[in-house]
C-alpha cells in the first residue's frame, strides 16, 4: 500500500534542518501501524509526506501504486480526497459548520449532490454514535465527540488509508481509549490501513506494528500483535 524508498526532507530555515534522512518503509494493505518517536524525531513530517500535505526532497513514494512526486496542488487534492482520510490532534473541524456539514465536506469537493452527501454523512455520524449531535457546532461538542466527527469525516470517502497525527493528543485518557478502540475496530472489521503517529507508547501499543523513528532515521520495527510492547504490559495504562 505504502512504499517509501530513501525519503529525504530538509527544512531550509535560518539553519537547514535535515529532518528525514533516508526513510525506507513499506506498509501493507490492512495494516495497523504506529510511528513512534520523540518530538523532533521527524515522525509528523513523515506523516505529512504520506498524506501529500508536504513534499519531500529526494526518494520515492508510491501510494497504492501511484507515484507521489511533484504533484500539482490540484492533483494532490484529488488524491487526498479519494485515497486518504486524516485525523488530526486538534481535530481540524471548521468552526462555523455543524457536525454533519463538516462530515459532508469531502463529498462536496467530490461533487456529490447535497441530499446524497447529507444522508451519507448522517449514516456515518450514526455509526460513530453522534446521530443526535448532527446539528451541533464543534464548540458545542466534547473533545471525544469532536474527534469522532473528524473520524466520520475521514471515513466518508472510504479511503484506502487513514493517517492519524496524535489522534489522542488532545483527549483525556478515557476518550483516548475509546478513540483507539474505534480505530482498532475499523482496522479489524473493515481492513482499512491505518497509520498513527504518536509519542505515547500506550497509544502505540494498541497498534499491530510499531515503527520507531529517531532523528530522522527508522530504528527498529516491532511486531506487536499481542499488544505486549514493553514497557507496558497487557493491562498497562494507556496514558
Amino acid at each position: 500500500m505504502i512504499h517509501l524508498e530513501n525519503i529525504n526532507k530538509t527544512y531550509y530555515g535560518a539553519q537547514p534542518l535535515h529532518v528525514l534522512k533516508g526513510i525506507s518503509l513499506d506498509i501493507n494493505e490492512g495494516e495497523f501501524v504506529s510511528i513512534m518517536g520523540a518530538s523532533g524525531s521527524g515522525k509528523s513530517t513523515l506523516l505529512n509526506i504520506l498524506g501529500i500535505l508536504d513534499n519531500y526532497d529526494s526518494g520515492l513514494y508510491t501510494l497504492a501504486g501511484v507515484p507521489i512526486k511533484d504533484l500539482s496542488e490540484s492533483k494532490a487534492a484529488v488524491y487526498r480526497n479519494k485515497m486518504i482520510g486524516f485525523i488530526f490532534q486538534s481535530f481540524n473541524l471548521i468552526g462555523f459548520k455543524t457536525a454533519v456539514e463538516n462530515v459532508e465536506l469531502p463529498l462536496y469537493y467530490q461533487g456529490v449532490g447535497k441530499r446524497k452527501r447529507h444522508n451519507l454523512a448522517m449514516e456515518y455520524l450514526d455509526r460513530l454514535g453522534l446521530k443526535d449531535w448532527w446539528h451541533h457546532y464543534p464548540n458545542e461538542l466534547s473533545g471525544g465527540q469532536r474527534q469522532r466527527v473528524a473520524i466520520a469525516r475521514a471515513l466518508i470517502t472510504q479511503p484506502q488509508i487513514i493517517l492519524a497525527d496524535e489522534p489522542t493528543g488532545a483527549l483525556d485518557s478515557k476518550t483516548s481509549v475509546e478513540v483507539m478502540q474505534l480505530l482498532k475496530s475499523l482496522n479489524a472489521d473493515e481492513h482499512i490501513t491505518i497509520v498513527v503517529v504518536t509519542h505515547e507508547s500506550g497509544v502505540a501499543n494498541e497498534t499491530n506494528k510499531i515503527i520507531h523513528i529517531k532523528d530522522g532515521i527508522i530504528g527498529n520495527i516491532e511486531e506487536n500483535l499481542d499488544h505486549n510492547s514493553s514497557p507496558f504490559g497487557i493491562n498497562g495504562m494507556m496514558k
Binding site: E73, S74, A77, R80, N81, N92, I94, G95, E101
Partner: protein
C-alpha cells in the same frame, strides 16, 4: 452554485463584523460618490438655469473713462455714448451686428393711476432688449420699432407694478390704459412677468425717454446681438476693431480699454463653461478617490479575511479542496458581498440625492440682489451610479485577488500550521 451560495451565506453569517466592515467600505464609497456628484450636478444645473433663456451672442457697450491722453486730450475723460455711436454700430458693422438698441435709465419717476402711484426707474430700451435680457410678456407687447421712430409714449409694467397701480382689480385690466409718468401721459402697452430676479423696472422706448426727459444725445448703453463670431479669437478681434472705432468717435486712443466697456456674453459664457468643466473634473477626481478608498477598504478586509481563514483553507485542502475551488469561493464571496452592499450604497446615494432635490432643489435663496435657486436637480444619471458600482465590485475583487491567489497556492501543511 447553490452549494457555493450556502457556503458563502454560512461564512458571512458567522463572520458578521468582517462582512459588515467590508460592506460598509463598499456602500460608503458608492454613497459618497453619488452624493458628491449629485451635489455637483445640482450646483452646475443651478448655474446653467440662471443663464437659460438668454441669447448667447449679445454685447452691451458702456461708456467709461479714458485711461491715456490722446489727440491733445487728457486722460480721465468721461465718455458718454451718443446717438452717433448707435448709428456707427448699426451701419459700419452690419456684417456682424444684427440689431442695435440702447438702454437709457431715467431717475426715479412717479407713475400714477388715479390716486394710486409708485415710484420707479424707467428703462428706455429698443425692441432688441427682449432678446438680450429675456422679458417674459404676460399680456400686450414689447417695445417695437414704431415706438422708437415715432417717440411714442408707451409704457411696459411688471405685473407687480400693474397690481400696485390697480390694487382693486385684475392687473391685466391696466393694459391699454393711460397712466401718468410725472406730468406725461403714457399708455400701458404690455405687462411682463416680474421674475423676482433683481430690480424690476418699467420699460419705455429709448427715443421717447431721450426726448421727453431732455437727455439730448445721451444714448445710455448700447445693446446689440451679433452673429458670425464662432470662437474666442474672432470675438476678441471684433471687439478690438469695434472699440477702436467707437473710441475714435470720442477721440480716445484706439487701444484704450477703459474708454468704453464691452460686455460680451459669448466669451463670458465660454469662461463659465470652462469654469464648470473644472468643477466637474474636480468632482470626478474627488469621487474617484472616494471610490478608491472603498476599493482599498475592500482589498484590506480581503487581506485580513484570507489571513484569518488560512487554517480553514488548509483543512479544506487536506480533505480534498483544489486551489481553484478555494479561489472561486473567495472571489464569489467577495463579488456577492461587494455587489450587495454596493447596491445598498447606490440606493442610499440615490435616495440622498432625491432628498437633496426635495429639500433644496426648488427652494430659492435671497442672494441680496434678488432670489435665485442655486441648486437645481442635484441627481446623478442612474447609468453612472451602476457603472461606479460595477467599477467598485471589479476593482474590489481584483484587490482581493492577490491575497486569495496566495492563499489558494499555500501548501496545506503550512496552512494547517498557521496561527
Amino acid at each position: 452554485m447553490n452549494d457555493i451560495l450556502s457556503e458563502i451565506w454560512a461564512t458571512a453569517r458567522n463572520n458578521k463584523l468582517r462582512t459588515i466592515l467590508t460592506g460598509f467600505a463598499v456602500a460608503w464609497g458608492i454613497f459618497m460618490l453619488i452624493t458628491l456628484l449629485g451635489a455637483g450636478n445640482g450646483l452646475i444645473n443651478g448655474i446653467t438655469q440662471q443663464t437659460e433663456g438668454r441669447f448667447n451672442n449679445t454685447m452691451v457697450v458702456y461708456g467709461g473713462t479714458t485711461s491715456q491722453p490722446y489727440n491733445g486730450l487728457k486722460e480721465g475723460r468721461y465718455i458718454r455714448l451718443k446717438n452717433s455711436d448707435i448709428a456707427i454700430t448699426g451701419s459700419e458693422f452690419s456684417g456682424i451686428v444684427d440689431e442695435v438698441g440702447a438702454m437709457l435709465y431715467t431717475s426715479n419717476l412717479t407713475i400714477s393711476n388715479g390716486q394710486h402711484y409708485l415710484t420707479t426707474w424707467i428703462a428706455g430700451v429698443g425692441p432688441n432688449h427682449n432678446k438680450i435680457n429675456k422679458v417674459e410678456m404676460l399680456v400686450g407687447r414689447f417695445i417695437n420699432k414704431i415706438d422708437i421712430d415715432e417717440h411714442r409714449k408707451v409704457l411696459i409694467l411688471s405685473n407687480k407694478q400693474a397690481q400696485e397701480l390697480n390694487p382693486d382689480g385684475d392687473y391685466k385690466s391696466l393694459l391699454g390704459k393711460w397712466v401718468k409718468v410725472n406730468a406725461f401721459a403714457f399708455r400701458v402697452v404690455g405687462i411682463f412677468k416680474d421674475d423676482e430676479n433683481g430690480r424690476a423696472d418699467a420699460f419705455s422706448a429709448y427715443s421717447t425717454i431721450q426726448t421727453i426727459f431732455g437727455r439730448g444725445d445721451d444714448a445710455g448703453r448700447i445693446e446689440f446681438t451679433f452673429h458670425g463670431l464662432p470662437d474666442e479669437e474672432s470675438n476678441e478681434a471684433f471687439e478690438n476693431i469695434y472699440r477702436a472705432r467707437i473710441n475714435a468717435n470720442h477721440q480716445a486712443a484706439p487701444e484704450d480699454r477703459s474708454a468704453i466697456w464691452l460686455w460680451n456674453r459669448f466669451t463670458d459664457n465660454l469662461q463659465m463653461q470652462s469654469g464648470m468643466d473644472i468643477i466637474r473634473t474636480f468632482l470626478w477626481i474627488v469621487g474617484l478617490f472616494t471610490l478608491l478608498s472603498g476599493i482599498v477598504g475592500v482589498g484590506n478586509i480581503m487581506l485580513i479575511t484570507v489571513k484569518e481563514r488560512t487554517r480553514e483553507f488548509g483543512i479544506r485542502k487536506a480533505i480534498g479542496a483544489r486551489p481553484w475551488s478555494i479561489l472561486k469561493m473567495i472571489i464569489i464571496e467577495s463579488v456577492i458581498i461587494t455587489t450587495f452592499f454596493g447596491y445598498i450604497g447606490m440606493v442610499l446615494g440615490v435616495v440622498a440625492t432625491e432628498v437633496m432635490d426635495r429639500q433644496f432643489g426648488h427652494s430659492e435663496y435671497d442672494m441680496g440682489w434678488g432670489s435665485e435657486s442655486i441648486f437645481v436637480n442635484p441627481t446623478v444619471d442612474i447609468a453612472i451610479c451602476i457603472e461606479a458600482t460595477i467599477v467598485l465590485v471589479v476593482a474590489g475583487t481584483i484587490a482581493g485577488l492577490i491575497p486569495s491567489i496566495k492563499a489558494a497556492r499555500i501548501r496545506p501543511i503550512n496552512a494547517l500550521n498557521s496561527n
